[in-house]
Symmetry: D2
Subunit: 133 residues, 4 copies
Amino acid sequence: MDLKIKIRGYHTDLYRHVNNARYLEFLEEARWQLVEEHMDLNDFLNSGLSFFVVNINISYRSPAKVNDIIIVKSGRSKINNRSAVFKQEIINKTTGKLCIEADITFVIADNTGKAINLTGDILESLNKIPCIE
Amino acid sequence: MDLKIKIRGYHTDLYRHVNNARYLEFLEEARWQLVEEHMDLNDFLNSGLSFFVVNINISYRSPAKVNDIIIVKSGRSKINNRSAVFKQEIINKTTGKLCIEADITFVIADNTGKAINLTGDILESLNKIPCIE
Amino acid sequence: MDLKIKIRGYHTDLYRHVNNARYLEFLEEARWQLVEEHMDLNDFLNSGLSFFVVNINISYRSPAKVNDIIIVKSGRSKINNRSAVFKQEIINKTTGKLCIEADITFVIADNTGKAINLTGDILESLNKIPCIE
Amino acid sequence: MDLKIKIRGYHTDLYRHVNNARYLEFLEEARWQLVEEHMDLNDFLNSGLSFFVVNINISYRSPAKVNDIIIVKSGRSKINNRSAVFKQEIINKTTGKLCIEADITFVIADNTGKAINLTGDILESLNKIPCIE
């Protein structure tokens, strides 16, 4: 799943680069689009389940500036017993360079806030999400 | 009530000025501090009431840049039957200039989302909030 | 020019509605897309000119919630000697209600930061931007 | 260096917790305050040097909600040849729990954008920044 964004003035900061915190919003937007394409999100949320991010490991490889076009690529990575990982990359189309690499580790919590085991239907759903190409 | 903020890189945008949307957060922070000083917010929220902003009229008079110190001044203005107005100003201490002037019109909604009449205890509480000096 | 946005969790706040400040980003994004369609932005910026917003008057008519689809409509409104106004509306497609109405008053500044008169080529460019339908 | 923040509605999202991206702003604010206490930032910036974050590894341990008071603790960690690490923790004073742990890896770039070696005066300055207690 590729999300295309054109960088605007309000995305950037002092150094005229996209701000560190803003990238997290770009990545979150792309993850919702990824999950939406491969899961019935309404069913999921109505069953009282939520995604909770427990770790983000993000490397800032090269900057993006105003008017640059970036592509956010997102996919599933490792699935553990109680946590799983999305892998995301941002490519700066304008410069041709890798801009961001990130691993997003999450758990799925029930309506008491407890992380559930990733088995059965949930595991099947997660497995349907393709890896980043 | 005066809120002092030092401008950082992440507050600014392309033009190295504080971004338009960011000022709304500075104003919101200052309003919470104003209200907190003069009302029992927990009582208020527990009674199922909420503040809803219905209009913001904000004038950007002069910019604030990284390392500038700004002071947000906030006070009550007009109280109508079902809406009331907070007046807010931001002074740029570093340049000595008026930076922002804003009127924030709000209603108080009950837990069905309906705006209540500003009478009785609520009116008394609102009247205790001082005007901007 | 219509900009379509699907509301995500990170757009919303305590009341599960889109936050007041976030709407300003939606409006800014839509204005860039509007201007880009009708002006050569690179030429404009290279000539040392900038848009500066001097006033925002925004009315919050009804809320938008997670998963709602909103449409941002933007157009030119009045053009004065040294300032002009964009008119913007946000329609909540999911509820069918008007969500936001806003007037954005701006000046065009030269590279010394001074507002220029809106005459000649600049006036012609601004006049090409269609009004909100 | 301890930075105290009271959580407001506009800091939180759908789940009524502070949003992932917002924490990055809290951490950035705290880092500026840390650096400012121990370095002459104006001298530093005037010499054409900049801090660039190259990696953030952040773990979300427990949530913070509206009205919670959080304390951001920041300090220096490892210093390598061309990169160094700030360690930051956020404690939720209201719940008594650890909220966030983060390692922020940065380089110092000269005015051509190239990472410099962390030696001499720069190394001395960085060494003066205390470790997190």
